[in-house]
Point group: C2
Chain length 321, copies 2
């Protein structure tokens, strides 16, 4: 939610001169995306988003993300399409950072989604999984179960200052997840961060998915679990079963979950809650002085994890019997 | 440069329903304007800027600013036009703040203006002065000479920690300005904050002036002095006479400076430097913990003030003989 890198007008004009997308009419730094700097860019040809990749995104991963978005857009998914410059490259350098220009997607992010939104999101997620199924590149999920113990090690000493008992709860859960984590589920490209900020709607319809910078190769059902956590809990911490039903029905209207996925859904929900609790906890404990971004509350995900500990079957998350 | 107030999608839709400008297609918080929250807003009809007025802008002043922009736009000046809702009002409330929707202006702010830009800026400033000359409302300049002693009183005790001797220099200069400050100059609407961020260009042409929230009734030549300070100094602190010549020639191509204004220009430059040094100094010394905005350097304007102390005639600022 910040402009980390300021782009000077001369630099932008020189950068744009390598593309065939006209000249600048206006550009504004926008509060979108937590990791990168984004500008709304209007040229004599169209509107775009100019992204400067900041340090949290590994530069060696960028070709994967760019290729993925180009692949998904070609398949008809409404996602930002990285535009190639005259040399046929979508990735350049601007103001000292790697940079890309993507097509602009209309739509608004819904902060308090209804069941209708959850249904549309579920279908969009399944379409993403299908559209990515013939993408040939692979990127392991760097924030899945293998990473969690190390993440927690960075935070363990201070965890109980954030919430009494958090350290013990987390260690127990990490052990349980280690034992129960499923293998061999249907896998492919997952978004891995499909929070409400990353989904645009016009009316009740999904008009675009954005921010593919956590996308990776992992179990499709894990992506479903991430969305159940991000979309179907109320502000008071309660799970809204109607929204869960809508999300899962929407998903299955496009891609049917296999029996193994259904069975794994509760543990995947716990794992996904763990992943976001941990990264938020580490961020929470490491706010640099003068930070422009307020960290998100890790305990929101601790509470979600606690809810999922009592779930025995995907039906309790809204799966049709 | 920050989004102080987050606007929820439902609230925006309800607000827009009181206007005849279509429905939302997208909106993004933008890093523009230091005092207020601004959103780029695209509807089914056109693009707009949605502004939420934050606490530093006095609510009782808002009707003046709104009426002024409507007046100037009607006169053909390229400035944001506040759009009236169906009740004929341009000022409403959104997310707990006073809010207005203005037309979107294309163009980019030039950080390092050339002499050509300075010339175009000078002409645009004079056009603004002429366009405002039959505006009937009056707003005294709350940040002119009468305010400076009080402003400095807030900072005096710590001034020498910012720069050795700053306190003594400033007190002497305040006294001199008090003695030399001109009266009876041609007056009317001035922008009073026409820094490079507030002027948009397309190519070498001025495409728009924005951010009228310091506009007030004062001497036209004081506005010229503000622009000389904001546009004609180099990063190293030197005054670029070619830029000064271009700015003043551009101004005079539209509105001729009177002999009294020419004579007063050097002292007005000192006063304008004092005004920005003082407000920056107060901000510098009062950064709230967790502030999202980095304060601007007051010493930049202390150095400009020092330059102007040696100027005897407007010719030294670039005025054609």
């Amino acid at each position: 939610m910040a402009v980390y890198t300021e782009v000077q007008d001369e630099d932008l004009s020189a950068f744009l001169a390598t593309y065939d997308i006209g000249t600048v009419l206006s550009y504004k730094g926008i509060a979108e995306g937590v990791e990168n700097t984004n500008y709304f860019l209007h040229t004599t040809v169209a509107s775009y988003i100019l992204t400067l990749y900041e340090k949290r995104v590994k530069e060696t991963d960028l070709p994967f993300f760019i290729d993925l978005m180009q692949h998904l857009a070609k398949k008809g998914l409404n996602c930002p399409l990285p535009v190639n410059n005259r040399k046929g490259e979508a990735l350049g350098r601007l103001s000292g950072r790697p940079a890309a220009i993507c097509t602009f997607l209309e739509g608004i992010a819904i902060r308090r989604p209804t069941a209708q939104h959850c249904g549309a999101l579920g279908a969009a997620l399944a379409k993403l999984h299908l559209a990515g199924s013939d993408f040939e590149r692979v990127r392991p999920n760097a924030l899945s179960i293998d990473a969690w113990a190390l993440l927690f090690a960075q935070a363990e000493a201070q965890a109980d200052n954030v919430s009494a008992g958090l350290s013990r709860r987390t260690l127990q859960e990490l052990k349980a997840l280690e034992a129960e984590w499923p293998a061999g589920l249907p896998s492919g490209i997952i978004h891995a961060d499909l929070f409400t900020d990353n989904v645009f709607f016009i009316g009740g319809e999904v008009s675009g998915l954005i921010d593919f910078y956590f996308a990776c190769t992992d179990a499709f059902a894990y992506d479903v679990a991430i969305c159940l956590n991000a979309w179907c809990f109320e502000v008071d911490g309660s799970f809204n079963l109607t929204k869960g039903q809508a999300l899962l029905a929407g998903y299955q209207s496009v891609r049917r979950l296999e029996p193994g996925e259904v069975e794994a859904l509760p543990v995947l929900c716990r794992g996904s809650a763990m992943r976001f609790m941990l990264t938020r906890l580490v961020d929470w404990l490491n706010v640099p002085p003068g930070a422009l971004v307020r960290p998100k509350d890790p305990l929101e995900y601790d509470r979600k994890l606690n809810f999922h500990r009592h779930v025995k079957h995907a039906r309790e998350l809204g799966l049709a019997a």
